[in-house]
């Protein structure tokens, strides 16, 4: 098996941009940082990071769609392109909001870690090999563990990192075990080879063990119930931009890898034959996540924990989308993940700005946000309403498309159809807890003496771009959907 290195370079140009950018950021800070103010160093690092992300984005657009490259480890199909664009865009929004909001030492390391994590995401977007996929997943995860614990002044941040790391490491172990069983069963690491190997043998108990291991691993990573217990603590303690990345881009990239693994690796034997071995387990995870996430969110008094449980609920809807993606293609579920990521990033960036000026943990800390900063209040309203699925924001159409596909798969009596009906019923519950937060921000008066909030220019730009994207995708969904 020979590898064409020019082709390899072409396929991995976005990752090359990101890694080179990360090294440059570190090197430049090392060379010139001494003697400069921390703010200046942070701004330089962020600017360089933004350039690297922009270059990677341009490279993604420029890369022509091709078949398998690099000896079948990568596939630059529409799913890979859209996912790469999505994760790069989300990382861009997060990084653009960093200068002025995140007041931490070692900004260059922070930016470099963010770029490494993003490189992991873009690799996950296109990989068709278990080995490369696992390495990419771990590259992203390790960087995210560090980002979660980056705020060394707060013990909560360390707690978040530790919990995230412990659960993540266990998940990685499950995944690796599942992957090794798959390799043992089929003798292949590439997904098409695995599919061929599995088609040639009957469904064995060992395959079921492998499938369950893989689902448990991804369940942990995606914070699907009942493997979600790390999420509230991690979201609460991690610096808000890191939490934004964990909740948005990491999920989108993981979804792409998961979709590919299920659809081209562990695929159902025939289109109208018996369902693939993972259908039942996935349906259980989706149902549990929807119920647990939505009901637990009701009892939260802390905005971040609420967002964490809402993330669990959204993971349930995403898994439902995965369940029907065999019939419907990846379009609806990827649209859902992208728009969910955008809304989550917006909400966490609002919290990030607030963190710089007094902090925001409990719902009551948001009281009177509309007077303290109309921009933040407006963005928070747009993002939470999108998460709740209110048109014209894109979150509505994401839910709509996924549920429509689920019902189309077999009517309300089929398994996906029934889960979709459950999800629709729970959306009324979800609106309640989002409105509780918005009530504080938009209706209640601010605490006496609460100062007005100054939104740094980068964060303001990033927040406005997020809302604009939510509206644009909500009104013109074909911008994204016709890429598939």
């Amino acid at each position: 098996m020979t590898i064409d290195y020019s082709e390899l370079l072409h396929a991995f140009r976005p990752e090359a941009c990101l890694v080179a950018g990360a090294l440059l950021v570190l090197g430049l800070d090392l060379a010139t940082g001494r003697g400069r103010t921390a703010e200046r160093r942070a701004r330089n690092a962020a600017l360089l990071g933004l350039l690297a992300l922009a270059a990677a984005l341009a490279a993604t657009f420029a890369a022509a769609p091709t078949g398998p490259v690099a000896a079948g480890t990568m596939l630059l199909d529409p799913l890979a392109r859209v996912t790469r664009t999505g994760v790069l865009g989300l990382a861009l929004l997060v990084l653009a909001a960093t200068p002025g909001t995140l007041r931490l030492p070692h900004a260059a390391e922070y930016v470099a870690l963010l770029l490494f994590a993003t490189a992991g995401f873009t690799l996950m977007a296109g990989t068709t090999s278990l080995l490369l996929g696992f390495v990419a997943l771990e590259l992203a995860s390790v960087a995210l563990y560090l980002l979660a614990g980056f705020d060394k002044s707060r013990p909560e941040s360390a707690e978040a990192a530790l919990k995230y790391f412990l659960f993540g490491a266990v998940a990685a172990a499950f995944l690796l075990f599942g992957f090794s069983l798959l390799y043992g069963l089929t003798g292949a690491l590439e997904l098409p080879g695995i599919a061929r190997g599995l088609a040639a043998q009957p469904v064995s108990p060992l395959l079921l063990v492998a499938v369950v291991m893989v689902l448990v691993g991804f369940g942990f990573k995606a914070a699907a119930a009942p493997f979600h217990l790390w999420a509230p603590d991690a979201y609460q303690g991690a610096p808000a931009p890191a939490a934004a990345l964990i909740a948005s881009a990491a999920k989108l990239a993981g979804l792409a890898f998961f979709l590919r693994l299920l659809e081209s690796g562990l695929t159902a034997p025939a289109a109208d034959g018996p369902p693939a071995p993972w259908t039942g387990a996935l349906a259980v995870l989706a149902t549990l996540s929807l119920v647990v996430g939505n009901l637990a969110a009701l009892g939260q008094g802390n905005v971040r924990r609420l967002l964490a449980y809402s993330a669990v609920a959204h993971a349930g809807a995403l898994l439902l989308g995965v369940l029907v993606s065999g019939r419907a293609g990846p379009g609806p579920v990827v649209y859902y993940a992208v728009t969910y990521g955008l809304a989550t990033v917006g909400a966490f960036l609002v919290l990030a700005v607030l963190d710089g000026q007094g902090g925001a943990q409990a719902h009551a800390d948001l009281a009177g946000l509309r007077r303290r900063s109309p921009l933040l209040a407006g963005v928070l309203a747009a993002c939470l309403l999108s998460l709740a699925g209110i048109p014209p924001f894109a979150g509505f159409l994401g839910k709509f498309l996924v549920f429509a596909e689920a019902l189309k798969a077999g009517g309300p009596a089929s398994l996906p159809g029934a889960i979709a009906l459950l999800a629709i019923a729970l959306s009324a519950v979800a609106l309640y807890y989002y409105l509780i937060v918005l009530k504080e921000a938009l209706v209640r008066a601010p605490a006496p003496g609460a100062p007005a909030i100054r939104v740094p220019a980068g964060a303001a730009l990033s927040l406005i771009a997020t809302v604009a994207l939510l509206l644009a995708l909500g009104l013109l969904p074909d911008l994204l959907l016709r890429r598939f």
Binding site: P332, I390, L407, K408, A428, L431, Y432, L435, V443, P477
Partner: protein, 501 residues
Amino acid sequence: MSALPWTIYVSLAGATLLLALGRASPWVARGLALATALAGAALGATGAAGFTAQPGLQTLVNIPWVAGPGIRYHLAADGISLVLVMLTGLAATAGVLFSWNVRERAAEFFALYFLLISGVYGVFLSADAFLLFVFYEIAIVPKYFLIANWGSTNREYGAMKLVLYSFAGSALVLAGLLWAHAAGGGQGFGLAELTRAASALPAAQQVPLFGLLFVGFGVLAGLFPFHTWAPTGHVAAPTGVSMLLAGVVMKLGAYGCLRVALPLCPAGFAAWQPLLGGLALAGILYAGFVALVQEDFKFVIGYSSVSHMGFVLLGLAAATPQAVAGAVLQMFSHGVIAGLLFAVVGRMVYERVHTRRLDHLQALGLHRQLPFPALVFVLAALASMGMPGFSGFPAELSILIGTWRTAPLWALGAAAGVVIAAAFTLRVLQVSFFGPAEPVAPTDAHPPPALDPITWPERAGAALLLAATVYVGLKPDALLGWILPALQSPALQPILRGTTP
């Protein structure tokens, strides 16, 4: 005709302009708001002027929107939509006039107000079920912030209850629409396509599907026993918003029942018909009795709204052409009259005497101090009781006659409802305005404080709504001429029994 879609765009543009420019002063906000409302009403009237009544929807705009599930941006109108668009224009204008005294953050108030209005116009003009649903949802969320920010009694509770009821109802609708879409093989969301797909389903599936759609929309129309959001929500809302809620938002539900639920599932409707008639009747009588014993002026009006909306649902449930025509006429009539009643209670009386308790009001003998509101309320009360000469008369009479042809018992029950409506209306009229003639001895140390005079926006708004109810009362054919041809549409024919009067 081609002016009709602009009602939506003008309202949205007005909302945006209000946010951008309206913060300068309350006067700018009010001026912009009135201009937007008048522009919407004028566009509706222009559209009506160029309208020739035909059976079936007449397309205004039809372009592809989302390719995958076959969603189209399809606006269309028939006589029924036209009546409701006219009502929206009237109610929006009157609502702005009665919100003239909103001072705190007037720009944001009116911006949310017109966001709601644009959703309402959109629902009445949609011919694609997805589009209709989007507009329906756009009309829901602004209500929360309008009530929670600018409302009165128990406003956060009332707002949350109202929005959650509406949203839960819309979740049922969404489930039903997606089911119908799936039944049609996922071809599209056009009402005609969905009707073809869903009405071909076996009756065993149509029954639950119809339940989802009708109950889902019915929640917003005040369908008993899901009506409880309406009184609390109406009472908590600021006056202009109460007028809109009772005036047009409840009509969204009834319109959805008529436009979506009935045509989609004729067989489902046949199975549900007895229950629906019973629920509508229960709503009329129950809300009427509850209104009879309320101690809060605004709650009386809130429950009377539910009772009068019961007539609309009864007309739909009876499903004879005359009853359905009466139901649409009643939507218009109730929209105007409920707006008028809420305006008197919430704006003209409460903002001056700062109490809505009937025993307090009784002690004041308000007809001496507030002769104009007393006059308006007497006229509105007559209209609400269904006296000839006002729009309520042809509407309720038409519903009763139409219902008599299918179910004489329902008609008798509803006739009893008319009597109850007269009872609670007369009671509240007597107690609130015509208390004891000499309540306060002239020698009393505390003479009653002088009340603010009635302002010109209040007079204009009251005159506008009174003129509308009297005009339709004297000349119902003006609206029936639009409504009756619309009932000949192929979508409604499988539902309607009997011949057009």
